[in-house]
Every structure is written in C-alpha cells, then in structure tokens.
C-alpha cells in the first residue's frame, strides 16, 4: 500500500541558509511519525511546506495523491484537494478569538464544506465530546487553559475529516496529566486510520507515542 504522505528530497533555503537539506520521509495510514531535533533545525518548516503555507526549493511532496512541487505556493483555489486531506494543529493553537470554542469548530464545516447548521453542530458536538472538552463549548478562546485550547484546536482541525494531521510542538504547553490525555487522543486518531506527523523536541514524548522517530540534525 502506498504511503499517505511522501516527502521526497525537499530543500528549503532562506537566502544563503539551507533549513531543510533533502528531507525525505513517509507516513503511512494509521502511523504516528515524530520529527525530532533541536530548535531551528526545520521541523516546523517541514510541516508548513506539507501544508502549503510556505514554498520549498527542490524535491516533491505528495499527500494522498495530491502533489506539491518546488516554487511559489499555488493559489488557494488550486489547493482545495490538499486542504481536505491535511489538518494542522498550531503550536499556539491560533483559535479564532472572536468565536466561541464551539463556533471555532463549526466555522469551516458551515462555510467551506457547506454543511447545514444541524450537521455542523452535530459534528462539532461529537468531536468536542470525543476530545473531552465539550463542557467548554461556549467559552471564548482566551478563557481556555492551554490543554483545553489544544483540544479545541485539534477538534477544529479534524472537523473537515483530514487523512493526515500535522501537529507542531503539541506538548509545549501541557502538564504531565495532560500529556497522558494527549497520548490517548493520538492513539485514538491513528486508530481511525489517520496518519500523524508530529514536530517535537520532547524526546520522551516522541519515544512513548510515535511508531517512528525521525531526527533532523543541523
């Protein structure tokens, strides 16, 4: 069976500095892959390239049959298939601050996937319950704790039902109890057949949760 995500010899350069030097990796369905390495080694850059948030200079990235080449990021209108396949959980969560936790999850369902309000509400309720954060549905983002905000962000990213989930430093703001909860969540997601690519500098967390650990070095 072909991989869900293939990163093939990708180079990213900022001016003279080469951040990614021919990175290659694969993520299969149901697999959790951790991308390790010290700060500034290009872990976030790799995730952002996969999500077409930034261009790369050489190589190829294929997500579930959708191929990205080197050069400028294509216009959003050409990225629709990629957006359906890839979810992204940002390190600082980046929740929409003018919307409640619940509406953060329903917004894309309603306006991108054109679901009815009833369908969107049902999906949001199910996701927030599965992530054990439904009791905070009416809260504003700035009223949420770090762990709660992260689970709302995961729910939001999962709303379009992506096959691949990218997570940037998911343990950054979590205490030990919350890390255990996060581990359970990741298992649950991979159990659903989703591939996970997680950028982290937390070696212990990576060893405990990832099926494979890929270490980048400067």
């Amino acid at each position: 069976m072909s991989a869900l995500l293939t990163i093939d010899r990708v180079h990213v350069r900022y001016d003279a500095r080469e951040v990614l030097r021919g990175l290659s990796l694969e993520v299969a369905r149901g697999e959790i892959v951790a991308l390790m390495g010290p700060s500034g080694v290009g872990k976030s850059t790799a995730l952002r390239a996969v999500a077409a948030l930034q261009p790369f200079d050489e190589g190829r990235i294929v997500v579930d049959g959708f191929s990205l080449g080197p050069g400028p990021v294509p216009p959003e209108s050409r990225l629709v298939p990629l957006r359906r396949r890839v979810g992204f959980v940002f390190q600082a969560h980046a929740l929409f601050e003018h919307l409640s936790a619940f509406d953060n999850v329903t917004l894309a369902l309603r306006h991108v996937l054109r679901k009815t309000r009833t369908e969107a509400d049902a999906t949001a309720t199910r996701l927030l319950e599965a992530l054990d954060v439904a009791f905070r549905a009416d809260a504003w983002p700035r009223q949420l704790s770090g762990g709660e905000a992260q689970r709302v962000a995961i729910a939001r990213a999962l709303a379009p039902d992506p096959h691949l989930l990218l997570m940037d430093e998911p343990t950054a703001a979590l205490d030990p109890a919350r890390r255990a909860t996060l581990s359970a969540t990741l298992r649950q997601l991979s159990g659903q057949g989703r591939g996970l690519l997680i950028a982290t500098h937390d070696a212990e967390f990576a060893r405990a949760n990832a099926d494979r650990v890929i270490t980048l070095s400067t």
């Binding site: 948030l53 957006r83 890839v86 980046a94 929409f96 003018h98 917004l107 894309a108 306006h111 504003w140």
Partner: protein
C-alpha cells in the same frame, strides 16, 4: 497717539494694504481715523493702525486692543447697547445684485422667494435676509468675506447678493460691467460708525465733536470724494447730524426674548452639524475600507497610490481641502456647499480611518490567518469571517473617537457658506453683542451630541477588552 483697529482684508475703499508700501494701510476709513487723531490731539496727534478681523472688532475694542474700531462698522441697536458708538460718518445703501439675465424678473427681495441670496454674516444685510426668510421664503447664504458672494453669483451658485453699495460697486469693477447688475432700488439704508469700549464714552464724545467739525469744515467730504464714495445722500446725512437730527438711538438690551427667538436657528444649525458629520463619516468609512484593503491586499502600485493619497490628505490642512473642493473645482463642477462640505470632510477623515483599519487588519495574528487557510477558507472568506470581524473590534473605539473629532471639525465648513452650529453661534453672539450665553448654549449642544458617543467608545473598549 490714537490706536485704531480695522480689517485690511476688507480692502479698498475702506482699508487696504498700500500697494506702494504694503506695511502701510490706506482707504477712507484710514483717513477718517487720521482726521479723528488730528482733531483729538489739537493738530499733533497721530493714528496707529492695528489689524483685527472684521467680525471681531467689537470684542477686540472691549478687550482694550485699540481705542476705536473703524472699518465699515455698521450702526446697529445691539452695538449701541453693548459699546460706545460714535456719530454716523457715512450712509450706505443695502443693494441687491443679480445676474443680467434676471434683471427683468427680480426687482426686490420679494421676487426672490425660494432663491439663494448671499451676504456677509453678522451684518444688517444678513438680518434683513433672515427677516425675509420668514416673510418671503428667501434662502440666506452667509459668507465670511465679501468677494466670494459675487463670484458665486456669476457662477450661478447663488441667485442674488445683498450688500453695501460700496462693496457691490467695487465687485462690479473687479468682475467687469457685464458680470452682474446692481438693482437701483435700495433694500435699506444704514450708517458706518466708529465703535469704542462701553466704558470709553468720554473719548466717544470727543470723537463725535471731531466728526462734527470735520463735517462742518468739509474735510470729511474731501476724504469721501478722494475715495469716490461721495454722493448726495452723504450731504443729507451731514446736515441731519449737524442739525442734531441723528442722535444716538435708544439702545435695545439683549434680553431673554432675543435668546428664545434664536433657539430655532440654533436647533437648525445643530441639525446641519449632525447631518454633515454623519454623512461625512459614512463616506469616510466607505473610502477608508477601500484604501485600507488596497494597502493590505493590493499590488505594489495600488498600495503606493493609497499611501500617497493618505499622506497628502493627512499632510495638508482640512481648510485648504475645503477651499479646493468648493472654489478650486468650481470651474469643473459646481458643487452645492453642503455636498462640498460632506465630500471634503469625508475624504479627509477617510485618510485617518484608513490607517486605523489597516492597523486593525494587521493586528489580527498571522497564525489565525494561516489556520484559516489550512481549513480551506478563501481569502475573501478569511476577510469576511475571521479577519474583518476581529479588526472591527480593534477599530471601533478609535473610530468613535474620530467621529467626535469630526463633529467638532465640521465647524470649519462655515468657510464655504454652510451655517452650522459654531457659525450660527458666532452670528448669534455678534447680534446680541456677547459670547456668554451663545457660547454656553453652543457648548451644551456639542456636548449633547458627543458625550453619548464618548461613552459608547469607552463601553465598547471595556467589553471587548475583557471577553472575546
């Protein structure tokens, strides 16, 4: 040394800067002042000129800035009640000027029902027009100077001008004999006098004595002839004065009745201020949204154009922009004064609002915009659903503050003949001869308009600062 005040902006034949030596003034009022000084000092006293804005002569003389104001100062009951006023030394006629095409249709104020008639604010002529508004439905248009009424008559912005015959003849010389027609029948007559501080009645009596002497010995007639303003009615006036037939009229005090009579005008002016401000702000918001979008989303040339507009508008006085839009563009498009006022205020404030919106748009964290992209939102959807609503929260409080500022800046539009709250108050103050009651009334109206907005701004800041 007699210190006298006048307005050289009033120009010849009253007072004007001497073309041969612009540091000196000349005109018949200048010579009258010199004649008075001569008479007071037993042949040795000289006169020193102080420049003062024509509409401020009364306040300025009362403050003690000079001994006597002489600059086509009209003899009015209010002025007599408030200040020490000399004998009249010149009789003027209020005359109507109309376009040549209208000369057969318009013979008097009564023929101008519903038409726009221009004059200088805070004059007898303006009071005549206000009275005519109630009786014959004339629309009075007030100007701050006596040049633009006539150019606006020629260009068709107003249908007639009512002003002193000296001013009308001067305008006719400047614009050419064919430009307009001065109707032979005078609407009213009035007198020019000198005005002194209320407490200065002793000096006033001395000045009166000098004026009588100058009428008797022919020196005043010589002055008026030199400036080509002598006519038979002056001889009649001199005769009446010397016979004692023109005494100081009974002063009329500014009473509660006068204040109450002015309230409807004040309410109308407040309406003008409010509607001009609301319409200008609406225009400013729309233009600013376009400018801010251009600066945030546009290609390089569009960003540059928007920046140039914003910097030019913010870097030049609003007063200049008002003049350019109203008078400067009149060769291309003749905008009604109110529309020109709304355009100038709106386009000016748009530059400031645009910067608020740009700042607000850029204050929305980039990570949220990227998160929205990964969820598949289009750029338009991101602006409409995520960036716009949050930027609006950042922008609303400063916008409300700007609206309060706009409300007060709208006072500037009086320079293009729109009578709004401040202008109406100035007219009121001149008529009653005091700023105390008009000033307090005006301040109350401005506060009534702006305080609720200031409260709203603070409330929004508090609410959206805490939650959301």
């Amino acid at each position: 040394m007699l210190v006298w005040g006048g307005d050289a902006e009033g120009g010849a034949p009253f007072v004007e800067a001497d073309p041969a030596n612009p540091s000196r003034v000349r005109g018949f009022d200048v010579e009258v002042a010199e004649r008075i000084a001569l008479g007071l000092g037993g042949g040795r006293r000289s006169a020193r000129f102080v420049q003062v804005q024509w509409s401020s002569i009364d306040q300025s003389v009362e403050r003690g800035d000079f001994d006597i104001g002489l600059s086509g100062v009209e003899d009015t009951p209010t002025r007599r009640a408030r200040h020490a006023v000399t004998l009249p030394y010149f009789e003027f006629r209020e005359v109507l000027a109309v376009r040549p095409a209208d000369r057969d249709r318009i013979h008097a104020l009564a023929d101008l029902r519903g038409r726009r008639v221009a004059t200088l604010g805070a004059t007898i002529a303006y009071d005549l027009l206000l009275a005519a508004r109630d009786s014959t439905g004339v629309v009075a248009v007030s100007y701050d100077d006596d040049v633009h009424p006539y150019t606006d008559l020629v260009s068709g912005r107003v249908d007639a001008v009512l002003l002193d015959h000296i001013i009308a003849h001067r305008a006719l010389r400047r614009l050419g004999d064919q430009a307009f027609v001065i109707l032979p029948q005078a609407v009213a007559a009035g007198h020019y006098v000198g005005v002194l501080a209320h407490s200065d009645s002793a000096l006033r009596d001395s000045v009166d004595a000098v004026l009588r002497e100058a009428m008797r010995d022919g020196s005043l007639e010589q002055i008026l002839r030199r400036w080509d303003v002598w006519d038979p009615s002056q001889a009649d006036l001199f005769e009446r004065v010397l016979r004692g037939g023109v005494a100081n009229q009974t002063p009329r005090a500014a009473g509660a009745a006068q204040v109450i009579a002015y309230l409807p005008s004040l309410a109308r002016a407040a309406g003008v201020t409010l509607s001009a401000s609301v319409l200008s702000m609406a225009l400013a918001v729309i233009v600013a949204l376009v400018l801010a979008s251009a600066r945030v989303y546009g290609p390089r040339w569009l960003r540059l154009s928007a920046t140039v507009y914003i910097e030019v508008v913010r870097g030049t006085p609003l007063l200049l922009q008002l003049f350019v839009i109203y008078y400067g563009l009149s060769g291309v498009v003749r905008l009604p004064a109110f529309l020109a006022a709304v355009l100038a205020l709106g386009l000016n404030y748009a530059a400031y609002e645009a910067e608020i919106y740009r700042g607000a748009l850029q204050a929305v964290p980039r990570a949220q915009l990227e998160a929205a992209r990964t969820l598949g939102f289009s750029e338009m959807q991101i602006l409409r659903l995520i960036r716009g609503p949050q930027a609006l929260r950042y922008a609303l409080a400063p916008m409300t503050n700007d609206f309060v500022a706009l409300l007060k800046d709208s006072a500037l539009v009086s320079v293009i003949t729109v009578v709004e709250l401040t202008k109406q108050t100035a007219i009121f103050a001149t008529n009653v001869g005091s700023w105390v009651i008009p000033g307090v009334l005006c301040a109350i109206v401005y506060l009534a308009l702006s305080l609720p907005l200031a409260r709203l701004a603070r409330g929004l800041e508090r609410r959206w600062g805490a939650a959301g």
